[in-house]
């Protein structure tokens, strides 16, 4: 058996491009860089962290994602081999495995590294826009910090939200950090491999019209509930129902809101059952008298999550009803919600009243804007390439999965990318 005489030195090889700075992209970049490879991490939004940064807690440990993100960001700061580009999108990939030329589109941030986070720009700014970090539950100024823990810790100006010709922020900045004349730039880079970790978006629940999202204020989605529960969220961690700010005492979780449905997402989104069970604990912790009902088709908590399910199901105030919710209507008087489902185990159809309804919406892979070259599977997730390919994927753009699985997936993708770098530096 022949063993390579020397370990490959990634230092001499071309870099790896990672598209997407969520937990999967961050992990891929760190794993590759920590063995010596050069990495370019391109994130479309103004800050790293992706969906995970917007979560209140992870299941099943019920710990906040901030500590894991902080550790990863420290690894990132300490590693000189990673170049982080925010507001950056890959437009085109040309070439072959080991030798790609990628065009990046860099949108202007209008705020330089000298930003001190003083916030004077936001003070001076008169324009408001929905806060995407909070799924539109709150508003930010057009000059804003993406989130409290944003990395890079720098303000950004959303020129699309600005009034025509307004320069109030530039004039207010005492450090001269704002330059509104910045333009979109394009940059061409040479890389050995590309890992797409462009993540997921929650399924658009307005498409499931009979569940009332977008029509009734007290029907929210699971990602919105994360923001309502988060201490840095719009309600500072108090879960209040949107119509009147009341503390909900009866909450329904609607599982498979779009998932496992040929009319919406044909696949199981894998995380929504555990997510709803986790969110039930948020509510029970805040409101000790609250009654929670989780309507499900099957509770899909695999592996170690089965114990988590069992422990939550033991709570007498959390009921599990087997039967998918087929109708959510609103009491015109008080914005309460009337939820109808057949309880399959009793064989009766019941309409129950709830203060708040949470739709367990599923995972939609984010492949929009990804340059050509990646292969999609039947459900529009990125498929795993065969043989000696150079375009890989990691995280939820690749398959619906929980955070810990996405991290493992990312580590695997980093290894595949490193093999590509190694091959190209040996042969070329």
């Amino acid at each position: 058996m022949s063993v390579p005489s020397a370990l490959p030195t990634f230092r001499n090889g071309k870099p790896v491009l990672v598209i997407g700075g969520g937990i999967a992209g961050l992990t891929t970049a760190l794993e590759a860089a920590e063995v010596g490879c050069q990495v370019i991490l391109a994130e479309k939004s103004p800050a790293l962290g992706g969906r995970v940064a917007r979560m209140h807690q992870y299941f099943p440990k019920l710990c906040p994602p901030t500590c894991g993100l902080e550790i990863n960001l420290r690894r990132l700061r300490e590693n000189p081999r990673i170049t982080v580009l925010t507001l950056a999108e890959a437009e085109e990939i040309r070439g072959v495995p080991g030798n790609y030329e990628v065009t990046l589109r860099l949108s202007p941030r209008f705020v330089s590294e000298t930003c001190t986070l003083c916030g004077d720009c936001a003070q001076a700014c008169a324009a408001e826009k929905p806060d995407e970090f909070n799924y539109g539950l709150s508003k930010t100024k057009a000059a804003y910090l993406p989130s409290g823990n944003a990395y890079p810790a720098r303000y950004v100006i959303d020129r699309a939200a600005c009034p025509e010709g307004c320069k109030a922020c530039q004039e207010a900045c005492a450090y001269g950090s704002i330059d509104l004349s910045q333009k979109v730039e394009r940059k061409t880079i040479q890389v050995a491999a590309v890992v797409a970790a462009t993540g997921w978006a929650p399924y658009d629940a307005t498409k499931i019209d009979y569940l009332g999202f977008g029509k009734y204020p007290n029907v929210v989605t699971n990602v919105i509930l994360e923001r309502l529960a988060a201490l840095d969220g719009p309600t500072a961690g108090r879960i209040l129902r949107p119509s009147d700010g009341k503390e909900p005492q009866t909450v329904a979780f609607v599982q498979c809101a779009g998932s496992r449905d040929d009319n919406h997402l044909p696949y199981c989104s894998a995380v929504c059952c555990a997510a709803s069970i986790k969110q039930a604990t948020y509510i029970r912790k805040l409101y000790t008298q609250a009654q929670i009902t989780i309507f499900y088709i099957d509770v899909r908590t695999l592996g170690r999550l089965e114990d988590f399910y069992a422990s939550v199901a033991a709570d007498p105030k959390i009921a599990f009803v087997k039967g998918k919710v087929g109708a959510v209507e609103q009491d015109p008087g008080n914005h309460d919600l009337l939820v109808t489902a057949e309880d399959i185990l009793s064989g009766k159809k019941k309409t129950q009243r709830f203060d708040l309804v949470v739709l367990a919406t599923g995972i939609v892979p984010q492949t929009d804007g990804l340059p050509a070259g990646f292969a999609l599977d039947e459900f529009k997730f990125l498929s795993v390439p065969e043989g000696r390919a150079g375009l890989y994927s990691a995280g939820c753009v690749h398959r619906p999965e929980e955070v810990s699985a996405a991290v493992q997936d990312a580590t695997g993708a980093a290894l595949k990318a490193l093999q590509c770098v190694s091959r190209s530096s040996q042969h070329g």
Binding site: R260, D261, D262, Q291, K324, A327, P332, R353
Partner: protein, 384 residues
């Protein structure tokens, strides 16, 4: 612990249901979206989720005795909403076909009418009968105007159709007894005699059907039913009247009965064409169509079309056309009658008794009313 229940799956039954329109049955994963989507599905015994799993398991007796098969009006909202494409509406249609077959008297007629292979045979019988009448029957006296009776003498047709009607009534009676007995074993407790009048009222007004999600479907069906009822009255009165000798056909166009007959024909034609168009155009395939559906609908619309054409050609005295058209009309009307207890026609009888047997029914209240009725989620006191 209670006694163990022994499940006896009838695999041939499953095969038949899957072959006759319920082909996607096994895709059902029991989420019960259908039971909520259906506006007619009652709270205490919702359908069609339960019927889907029973059909998957081949529990024929439990299904054949279930009034819910007939409470469904086949609007297809369950099929549209089904997340798995299991098409519950079509499965219920296939189960109704199975029930019609099971209750059929004599049994072989049920199988015959349900089988596309037997179609030539079904039409061969009336074709031969009416050819024989046209050929051998003693011709009536010469009339100043051409009449159908010149070729198809009225006394012979009367005798034939009264015999067929008698047989059909007997077949329906036996079928209904079988149906009611089966439903009783299945635990349907509604008092049929008491429930019959409300059921008939709901049927004539289509009160339940209007709750369904497909308005053109219920309008088409309502017109068909009313037109048919009108023609049934006309046919009975004309038949008895002619035999008793106080009516002489053809009636003049200004005759009240004739006016009523023509109006009924137009109504049923409109209804039948709406149903036909809905089935043919159905863009999202929310309601599947099988041989069983087409056979009944085609014969029904054919009877009406040929009836109207026969009348028009007779008025025109177009001898070359009027007799052949009338011949086809007779063949179709004979088929409609004789095969009624075994074709989709039979739903008229079975749905009526099932609605009566299922017990009292009230329409689903509006949201505001249900909001007043609905309880809070938990039984435990909440701190509102």
């Amino acid at each position: 612990m209670s006694e163990a229940a022994v499940m006896q799956p009838d695999t041939q039954f499953i095969q038949r249901v899957m072959a006759s329109g319920g082909g996607d049955l096994k895709k059902c994963y029991q989420c019960a979206t259908c039971s909520v989507a259906c506006e007619l599905s009652p709270e205490e015994s919702p359908f069609p989720r339960r019927q889907m799993i029973r059909a998957q398991w081949g529990l024929k007796p439990q299904l054949m005795s279930d009034p819910a098969l007939w409470l469904c009006h086949n609007c297809g909202i369950c099929t549209t909403r089904c997340p798995r494409g299991a098409r519950p509406g079509d499965v219920l249609g296939a189960l109704r076909r199975e029930a019609i077959r099971q209750f059929a008297f004599p049994q072989f007629m049920g199988s015959l009418v349900a089988s596309p292979k037997a179609l030539p045979l079904l039409f061969a019988l009336p074709t031969l009968i009416f050819l024989a009448i046209a050929h051998w029957a003693p011709k009536g006296q010469v009339t100043p105007h051409l009449e159908f009776a010149n070729v198809f003498p009225i006394p012979i047709l009367e005798a034939l159709f009264f015999t067929v009607s008698g047989f059909v009534l007997l077949a329906f009676a036996v079928g209904l007894v079988r149906c009611i007995r089966t439903m009783r074993t299945g635990g349907a407790t509604g008092k049929i005699m008491q429930g019959l009048l409300p059921a008939l009222r709901q049927i004539m007004t289509h009160q339940r059907f209007w709750m369904c999600d497909a308005r053109n479907w219920s309008l088409g069906h309502l017109l068909t039913l009313w037109g048919f009822a009108g023609l049934a009255v006309v046919g009975t009165v004309a038949g008895i009247g002619t035999m008793a000798g106080f009516l002489h056909t053809p009636l003049p166009l200004t005759n009240g009965l004739k006016l009523f007959a023509n109006a009924s024909a137009v109504v049923i034609l409109c209804g039948g064409l709406i149903l036909l168009a809905t089935r043919m155009q159905d863009p999202v395939k929310r309601v599947g169509s099988t041989y069983f559906d087409w056979f009944f609908l085609a014969v029904l619309v054919g009877v009406v079309l040929t009836g109207i054409m026969a009348e028009l050609t007779r008025l025109e005295q177009a001898a070359a056309v009027m007799y052949p058209v009338y011949f086809v009309h007779l063949v179709l009307i004979f088929s409609l009658f004789l095969y009624a207890p075994y074709s989709k026609f039979a739903h008229l009888a079975y749905r009526t008794v099932a609605m009566a047997a299922a017990g009292p029914w009230t329409p689903k209240p509006q949201v505001a009313e249900r909001a007043r009725e609905s309880s809070a989620a938990g039984a435990v006191t909440t701190t509102h």
